[in-house]
Amino acid sequence: MAYHTTLFLFVFLPLALICYHFAPQKWRGYVLIGFSYLFFWMNSKELLAYLIGTTLLTHHIGIWLDGLTIKEANAEAEEKKQIKKQRKRVLLLGIVILLGVLISMKYQNFIGLNASRVAEHFSIRYSFDPVAIVLPLGISFYTLQAIGYMVDVYWKKIEADYSLEKTALFLSFFPQIMEGPICRYSDTADTLYKKSPLKLENLQHGSLRIVWGLFKKIVIADRLAVVVKTVFDSYADYHGIIIVVAALAYTIQLYMEFSGAIDMVIGTGVMFGVKLPENFRQPFFAENASGFWRRWHITLGVWFKEYIFYPVSVSKIVKKWNRYGRKNVGKYWTKIVTSAVALFPVWLCNGIWHGPRWSYIFYGMYYFTLIMIGILLEPIRKKVLQTLHINPKQLWYRALQFVKLMVIVITGELFFRADSLRIGVRMFRSIFQDFQPSILFDGNLLNLGIDNLDFMVILVGCMIVLLVDLMKEKKVALTEKLEHWRLPIRWSVYYGLILAVIIFGAYGEGYQVIDLIYAGF
């Protein structure tokens, strides 16, 4: 049961809201936990034990760390050192267990199979039988939240949580368990624990956001899904511009689907009075690849930045290099090496996080390389802009940047979607074989599973989303603006949106229900 299904929207969510509303304030937390565990159970059955186990562990490690912090404050200098070490060990214990579970479930087969391949290469006798493993719902998301919490307590950014109810709420809250956003404890735990009563205003805002998400998902993404599936499933039958079309279609599908799902998630949160962090900020308006990633799946990027990038860049060894480098090789190269050292693990993890596949690792390395090239060329770029008196805010320059970004992103998503790295490479190469843009206009596109009316809907849908994103980029507070419009106009907009989803949605006969893509990561 995902967020876009009738079961969730018309049964589960209303039931959760009603129970929450009528429960006495002090029971509301338990109502939410109950519905969250029910949601988890409906998707993953007895694997719920993993979530509960993670919750207990996280809670306990937090309290343990806090106890040591208090002890440390009152200790003598010599003892302090001991306690510091102990705190580190406790944190490591927590991280190792959580990552151990994640790795053993998600990556066991991948590691085993590749190990046996290596063994074969060196003619060592070792064989690995892949095991069928079903992953608990959202394990890639809640594990990161749990680790983030423990590290924050260790860093004394936050105080440990002494209420198990609160920890359980923070880790399990059903709107975000399935595909994020990955929340910081300081972002959501307090508002969740407030258990504030439902407000009509929140319900309205939340519903609007949910319908907007549905529009992106059902009207646009699920239509494009047909095209994407057609081409990627029988990739050998296609080449040239059709591959580009499919990669573009997938890029748009992924954006509409993921950001749409997050709209539904955030909308659901709003209904309960919880403000979940945004996960997208008009990514395609970014200036370059690293800017794109500051706007796309934001909470994942932030997590990597806080818990991998910064810790690595201020680690002793990197600091030593900084001191040495600045004296001996100059600032430029020092920065290059530091960046590379700090960014490599970030992008490796980003790739692997999506799943145990070489194509995901390639995807991570692809962005690592591009961003490193960006850093390398930065001084040259600045110089060129200066000598030619180019203002980077000029329209033609921005347009050029946009085209470049699209090429980068679409190429990346091609490899991301292809069933394996080998297929990805093959598809990429086949683009340059018999490349005929004229195919776009001779009716060939209509053989990809959807008709011209579907293409029209996609086009118009994308324009609407583009318009809304443009306004968001210009910092226009759209929902607030809407509220100041006269009632007939405002209601027409709402009705129009709802009817668009009902009438133009790609559901029912002739379409398939498409599972949420990111719920699979």
């Binding site: 299904t5 009738t6 079961l7 009316l453 009705y495 009902i502 009438i503 029912g508």
Partner: protein, 316 residues
């Protein structure tokens, strides 16, 4: 104030959906071929003039490949309609009947029994019930794709729709031999199916419509275990039941020629044989009126003409 406004908003939304559904049902579905595919037979009900159908056949694809409505018309003047969907689920059967009863007063309902053995149960079944219910009351959800037909130019292609029956003439023989070997084992129906079946029977009772179960010949879909279950059920419920799988030789079914897809469905030749038998059965047990020559049924003759022409084009 805000609360009242919200209530008005929702009420108005429901009103709009109801209105659009009404327009779809009463304007667009009355035109020909607005809906094709799985829901064609359900949508086609809207095109039938009120109270003209005497025999309503319900079921999945086994039903629209086994009873030729046109043959019943030609030979006996029986007005029949097949309310089927491919892979029909029992809750869909239920809503098909309810939809039909909105405009028709059938004198007999025939249920093809293969729907009774789908494994409907659990969350998915209830989700589907909820969706069916919504689609029944607001047909905009079911037929929302109709906007495409309205915008595209190929409306009114002359596809022939024979009151729900589909003429299929390909042949793919079945050579698996006897599939009705006697046993005492029973293939159970799920509680969900039984529950909905009871509701279907109750509706028929309320409306004074006799119901008849039949099983179309199909080696792929039937066996003695299902036969046992159906015999037991119909005896307990006092419902007449015809298992055509028990009398394939009597019907003259030739599995090398009469099946469309290796014994899953009958083709037109098999359907003709089944219909021939059922004509006799209906004649002996039910007194369905002969409407031939009546003003109200003029278009049935036109359709029957087309049907005959279609039969002439068959390979044979």
């Amino acid at each position: 104030m805000k609360k009242i406004r919200t209530i008005i908003f929702v009420a108005l939304l429901i009103g709009i959906l109801f209105g659009i559904s009404g327009v779809i049902n009463h304007v667009y579905l009355k035109k020909s071929n607005m809906v094709t595919g799985r829901e064609e037979n359900l949508a086609g009900l809207q095109k039938e003039e009120d109270n003209t159908i005497d025999l309503l056949v319900l079921g999945d694809s086994e039903s629209y490949t086994s009873i030729s409505t046109m043959m019943l018309w030609k030979e006996d003047g029986i007005s029949s309609y097949i309310g089927a969907q491919s892979g029909q689920q029992i809750q869909e059967t239920y809503y098909m009947l309810k939809q039909a009863l909105q405009t028709q007063k059938p004198k007999l309902v025939m249920l093809e029994t293969h729907v009774l053995f789908r494994d409907n149960a659990g969350m998915d079944a209830y989700r589907s019930v909820m969706e069916e219910n919504a689609m029944y009351h607001f047909s905009v959800f079911r037929y929302h794709n109709i906007w495409k037909r309205l915008l595209s130019s190929n409306i009114g292609d002359d596809r022939q729709f024979f009151k729900g029956f589909r003429v299929r003439d390909s042949v793919a023989p079945y050579d698996g031999g006897d599939y009705m070997q006697e046993t005492t084992v029973k293939k159970q129906m799920t509680g969900f199916v039984k529950n909905y079946l009871q509701q279907i029977i109750d509706i028929c009772k309320e409306n004074d419509i006799p119901i008849l179960f039949y099983s179309a010949p199909s080696p792929v879909n039937y066996n003695y275990q299902k036969h046992n279950t159906l015999i037991e059920y119909t005896e307990n419920a006092g419902i007449p039941y015809v298992d055509l799988n028990m009398m394939t030789s009597e019907l003259g079914i030739d599995w090398t020629k009469d099946t469309l897809d290796h014994g899953d469905h009958l083709n037109i030749y098999g359907a003709q044989k089944v219909t021939k038998y059922m004509r006799k059965y209906l004649e002996e047990n039910y007194n369905l009126p002969d409407h031939r020559g009546q003003q109200k049924y003029k278009d049935w003759d036109v359709l029957e003409d087309q049907y005959e022409k279609r039969l002439l084009t068959l390979k044979v």
